[in-house]
Amino acid sequence: MQLSVDIELTLKTRQRRKAREFSLHARFDSAEDRVVFFGPSGSGKSVTLQAIAGLIQPTRGHIRLGGRTLFDSAAGISLPARARRIGYVFQDYALFPHLTVFENAGYALRQWPRPLGHETRERILHMLDVFGVAALANNLPSELSGGQRQRVALARALLHEPEVILLDEPFSAMDFLLRDKMREELAAIQARFNVPIVLITHDLKDVRAFADTLVVYQYGTIAKVLPCREMCRHEGETQAWASIFEACSGVFNKAT
């Protein structure tokens, strides 16, 4: 997947009546199918992800994905989120609480207000089966465990047939045992559906598991872009990961 991002934006937020400004300048290119954003909280990883999905509009720059221009301020292009075909797995999964697991998964496929067709229903059930949650099809999200919720969120995103799936700290709400399990599951799903992913994390284990390209954030800008897969090939895995982890911890040391 060819992903090219070069964006600038300023967010104004209010915290306890004080106006705060956060500016981000993010620029990187990657041709890999598994990209990881790593960096301290508030460094702009999540904002970049939202800009790629079309949930935030940058003030300047461009976002290109696999030959499509999603955003280009110079050319006046900004595709709305609904037209970008990008799967987004929110940190809290953002499952619709009033819809069943089945209806959640099938959200993108339903030509509202028409009901779902027979074939589409089969397709949704099949996808739920792949994720091992078919038995929960008629349950509400509130009745699911954290791992099950994530599976449903992934199934929902995949059924939209996205060109890339963006995951905002997908394992942060899980305990350590579950985290390891879901990490393996996500890797297997990524390989099975051959869908590119961009993942945000604070966890070096996730970096090790998913980073073909690693984008390291610091203070609203990108400190380093590391081609991990390339590095492994040239320097050997042990040497490469040692230097990658060193670069990762570097941003935290400088931050404090």
Partner: protein, 223 residues
Amino acid sequence: MELTVADWQTLRLTLKVASLATLYALLLGVTLAWVFARFRFIGRDVLDAVLTLPMVLPPTVLGYYLLVLFGRRGALGPWLEENFGIQLVFTWQGAVVAAAIVAFPLVFKSARAAFEDVEKNMEQAARTLGSREIGVFFRVSLPLAARGIVAGMLLAFARAMGEFGATLMVAGNLPGRTQTLSMAVYEAVQAGDDVRANTLALLISAVCVTILALSGYFLSPKR
């Protein structure tokens, strides 16, 4: 203690006026609540205050404003009558307008709070899944805000049922034409007809208890 045909007619008119008033208050209230919850615009706070006014103004003042607007010599009255043949003064339609305006802030306030409580992530998720804005509204925002809206709607209905002051000013108290239950009670008391006052008071209480019981059933957390 017995209900006459006229009493049943009064009840029917009361329910008709209250239902229509609630419907209009609902449509307008939900639409404006969504606009207020979603958009920032100039004059938002002032408009918000004006829209909330019917809740705090004395109903008679409100009725007076309505007369000034829709009366025979009012600003809009002659125009409405010429173009649409609608007459609001001393008609049951006038009672509907008065009750709708009095009940409106109750729907508006609770619907607005309900829309503001809908997590932004839910609407964003719907967009990334390909939903147009109208789909986001009907498939996500509205269902998630439904409980608050229904609560406001029931309050609005109860308020419209008991509407007295504004309705009296605009529609008058014409038995069989514009007289609602609350006015009939007033009239019975004035006339010293204790039996009729008792009967009507019990009737109105029974209807209100039914509404409250129904709302309690529909609004309980888990059915």
